[in-house]
């Protein structure tokens, strides 16, 4: 597959014209006949018992068509895992955070729905609440869930090798502490959902999501419906970053209201609801003790992290594990002890985020620079000495099949001018590096694979059907690009049907970074299957052995005599006449250890492959104001193979915004107890165009994974998971102080400078 026609080329995405013209339909843009407007009544208490709910006045208000409370759905609880079903989709006996869903109405218009909410009487008995995970683990802390002693929601212990012996044999050992506050996903599109329950027992639903099939299955379970009656429809998505992966009360409530009213119901959250009543990004505190040999290679790694999970589990087992796994996916770690705690508090629920674990990965990556300095080793060199290589086995047992980490480190260093700059820039200016590896997919049982099919129309145009979801990163376009390349067609000759749970076959969804590797492999297989059928039909038509034929440029031709050829549309028609219509099908299941489990068995092959990256940032620190500005970023990312280099570059840039500027320098929520004081876009600082570095050098490293489609792995998580280290290290290079608390706001920079001066 060396001669690509479309793959590997910079292609405009298939969805971008509709998005440039305003034609793309997002959930809130859709209106159905007789559609009602839903609104949700939320808890004003961080922790309270619900004594009584009286919704009768709301029900009697003119224009109200349905009211639901926890009484309607007693006992319906959601959890991503069988062992984490702790979130009532409508609170029944207790509320555990400010903003929790208590009751809902559907009315003819929004004003009536809001008025109806004000008529619902809820009697609460406030309970003592706890807002800090360390306090929540104390014996005297209020108990948030009956099942959770010391409010510990998830505990992940991982032990590899002999940690004590590792420390005994270490040449140098150091311990550090890092922490980070919560922040928000801030997808451009606020949460919105539209549900239409019809009289035949079908439920159609439109909402931004990372996996239509997972949403459908969850709703079928929660609503006790057969899966084929729940139809998640495709809709444009205004961003996800991990925040659309879980299942939320909003969609369940909209379904209940629609079922009750027998009319379509749309619920559109306010920005504040989107920030507090869905998911936030975990805050965390990390203690890390590392022992190295004299040459700087790791010999013992002991990490304890306490994450504030908020009131419910969400993706807790994954969230508790991922930062550590990313670390072991980067470096050789012979002896490890990891204790990950996710703790319940009376704060909004926390989920997975594209840059989850800034205190963890930022902290470990900064500590590595501290160690390097102590040992007199260059930060680039110490990374190269510890970096994983192809053929290595990671701490918990995953084999690495392709690895461009060392090459990424070298290229990022070289193209950033590392040698000339590190330690040599004037005071206030600095340069730093961060690295990471990243799982491409993870074990998800029957839901971990993807399948696709492709059919041909008589004019030789094709329709590709894949379950892949696109949250803006370009997965849809990527699938078409893969199919077009295999079939020798133009991208505009292939129509895509995706993300519809009724029409498409099962797909793992666009979390876990698996779309290119898993969905892409399924699409490639479907296209290869169609190609094989086309060649077989052509072989009959040309009376030539199939091995002598090639498909390309809309025809099949004899390799030895290109004049002997037959156009594709004739092949399609001939196949129809012969009762052998061209229908390609393909599927892919990554080779992971299906017995691996996040908490009970964190061992075995975690992912089908791993991506890698190294980013170098340059900063300017204003020592008067404490403000840090990124001036230049040089990132190298081993994505396996760049199916669309332009889309890969877009991921570099987005990560510089979200992780390099946002998570590292700006973003955090401020609290009064359980009330987020800045759950809006004015006071929660977000990266804007003027905050970005004007130079982003993007280096695509292609390690050509043996299993990936055309060698591709994933292209989204390199900078996302390492830029916070790079920024912290660059700040040290600039002003000689280490910052231990994210984000690195002007206040924290000034405080650290003051301490240093003392």
């Amino acid at each position: 597959m060396s001669e690509h026609t479309v793959a590997g080329k910079r292609m405009p995405r298939i969805d971008s014209v509709a998005k440039a013209t305003g034609d793309a339909r997002y959930t809130a843009d859709i209106a159905l006949p007789r559609m009602l407007h839903g609104k949700i009544l939320r808890s004003p208490h961080a922790h309270a018992r619900i004594l009584h709910i009286d919704a009768s006045k709301a029900e009697r208000l003119s224009g109200v068509r349905a009211v639901v409370t926890g009484q309607d759905v007693a006992g319906v609880r959601w959890g991503v895992f069988r062992y984490t079903r702790d979130q009532a989709m409508l609170a029944l006996d207790k509320v555990r955070y400010i903003g929790e869903d208590v009751a809902a109405v559907a009315a003819e218009d929004e004003e009536t729905a809001l008025e109806a909410l004000s008529l619902i009487e809820v009697e609460y008995e406030p309970l003592p609440a706890v807002f800090d995970p360390v306090e929540a683990m104390m014996p005297e802390a209020p108990r948030i869930h009956d099942h959770a002693d010391n409010n510990v929601n998830i505990f992940v212990p991982i032990e590899v090798g002999d940690i004590e012996r590792g420390f005994q044999e270490a040449h140098y050992v150091r311990e550090d502490h890092f922490s980070a506050n919560e922040h928000g996903y801030y997808q451009a599109e606020p949460y919105a959902v539209l549900v239409d329950c019809d009289s035949s027992g079908n439920l159609e639903i439109w909402l931004s999501n990372a996996s239509p099939h997972t949403k459908a299955k969850a709703l079928a379970n929660l609503l006790k419906m057969p899966l084929h009656k729940v139809k998640v429809r495709k809709v444009a998505s205004g961003g996800a970053f991990g925040g659309r992966s879980d299942v939320f009360p909003g969609e369940f409530i909209a379904a209940l209201l629609s079922r009750k009213a027998r009319r379509p119901v749309k619920i559109v959250y306010t920005r504040e609801e989107s920030l507090t009543a869905i998911r936030q990004v975990h805050s965390m505190a990390v203690d890390v003790k590392t022992g190295v040999k004299a040459d700087g290679t790791f010999i013992a790694t002991d990490v304890k992290v306490i994450m504030d999970g908020g009131a419910y589990s969400s993706t807790g087992p994954i969230a508790t594990s991922v930062p550590f796994l990313v670390w072991e996916e980067t470096y050789r770690l012979p002896n490890v002890r990891f204790h990950g705690y996710r703790v319940y508090t009376n704060k909004p629920v926390r989920g997975m985020y594209g840059s989850h674990g800034r205190a963890f990965l930022g902290g470990l990556g900064m500590q590595l620079d501290m160690i390097a300095e102590e040992l007199g080793i260059d930060p680039v060199e110490i990374r190269l000495r510890n970096a994983l290589h192809a053929g290595d086995v990671q701490a918990t047992g995953s084999k690495v099949f392709s690895c461009g980490l060392s090459e990424s480190i070298r290229q990022a260093a070289e193209k950033s001018g590392w040698k000339e700059k590190r330690g040599q820039l004037p005071y206030g200016k600095g340069i730093g590096m961060g690295c990471n590896g990243m799982m491409v997919g993870f074990p998800m049982g029957i839901r971990g694979g993807s399948s696709a099919y492709i059919k041909f129309n008589e004019d030789a145009g094709a329709t590709l059907i894949s379950g892949v979801a696109d949250n803006g990163q370009g997965n849809d376009s990527m699938m078409v690009q893969i199919a077009a390349d295999v079939l020798g067609m133009r991208m505009d000759e292939i129509n895509l049907v995706s993300a519809d749970s009724e029409i498409t076959t099962l797909d793992q969804g666009s979390y876990s970074q698996a779309a290119a590797f898993v969905s892409g492999n399924a699409v490639r297989a479907a296209a290869m299957d169609a190609r094989k059928q086309i060649l077989e039909i052509a072989s009959e038509m040309l009376e030539t052995d199939v091995k002598a034929l090639e498909l390309g440029d809309h025809r099949v031709y004899d390799v030895k005599d290109a004049d002997r050829n037959v156009p594709l549309h004739k092949i399609i028609r001939y196949a129809l006449l012969r009762n052998k219509p061209i229908m390609g099908r393909g599927s892919y299941m990554p080779h992971v250890d299906q017995k691996r489990e996040w908490v009970s068995n964190p061992r075995g092959q975690q992912a089908g492959t791993f991506s890698f990256g190294a980013f170098v940032v340059e900063v300017e620190v204003d020592v008067e104001t404490g403000r840090v500005k990124l001036t230049r970023v040089t990132g190298a990312h081993d994505c396996g193979f760049a199916i669309n280099p332009m889309a890969v570059e877009g991921q570099f840039d987005g990560n510089v915004g979200r992780a390099g500027v946002g998570a590292s320098l700006l973003e955090e929520h401020v609290w009064d107890g359980g009330q987020a004081l800045n759950a809006n876009m004015l006071e929660h600082k977000l990266p804007l165009s003027v905050d970005m570095p004007s130079v982003i050098q993007r280096i695509i490293v292609e390690s050509m994974d043996p299993e990936g489609p055309f060698g591709a792995k994933e292209a989204g998580l390199a900078g996302a998971m390492n830029l916070f280290q790079a920024v912290g290290n660059a700040i040290y290079d600039a002003i000689g102080v280490w910052l231990h608390e994210f984000p690195f706001t002007p206040e924290r920079v000034l405080e650290a400078l003051e301490k240093k001066g003392e």
């Binding site: 998005k19 599109e189 990163q473 877009g650 876009m681 970005m692």
Partner: protein, 161 residues
Amino acid sequence: MEKRIIQLTVNGEEYDLAVAPNRTLLEVLRDDLSLTGAKAGCDDGACGTCTVLLDGQPVRSCLTLAVEVQGKAITTIEGLTADGDLHPIQQAFVERGAIQCGFCSPGMILVTKTLLDENPHPTEQEAREAISGNFCRCTGYAKIVEAMLAAAEMVEGGCHE
């Protein structure tokens, strides 16, 4: 609230509408005229996804009352392709990969329109400043700025208007 009869000029078309005086221009465009290209992203005037042009100047339609804008020329993203072809700015956004989730794109494109109308040769810094009131979570703004500068060249090259 008692409705008032107003006349709005949107993308060159005149509309007679009965609207309550508390309704925003964004609500009227989206709900009454089905022009859903302008989005509600924050309802605080912070994010810029609701941007439309009023006599050629970008405004936050979520902070603008519909009854205030009678007699002014309102341009939404749908109005940029009135003749069926992509505007060079739209074309540049598509070709340069400046669109990911696309939720901010209509606002970004309209702000670029005003910038290029007033300043056909913007510097990179001027382009950055022009969109500094428009939030994008996906792109890190890099390819948007590239597209804005490319669009300036395309407009200059005479491929439109």
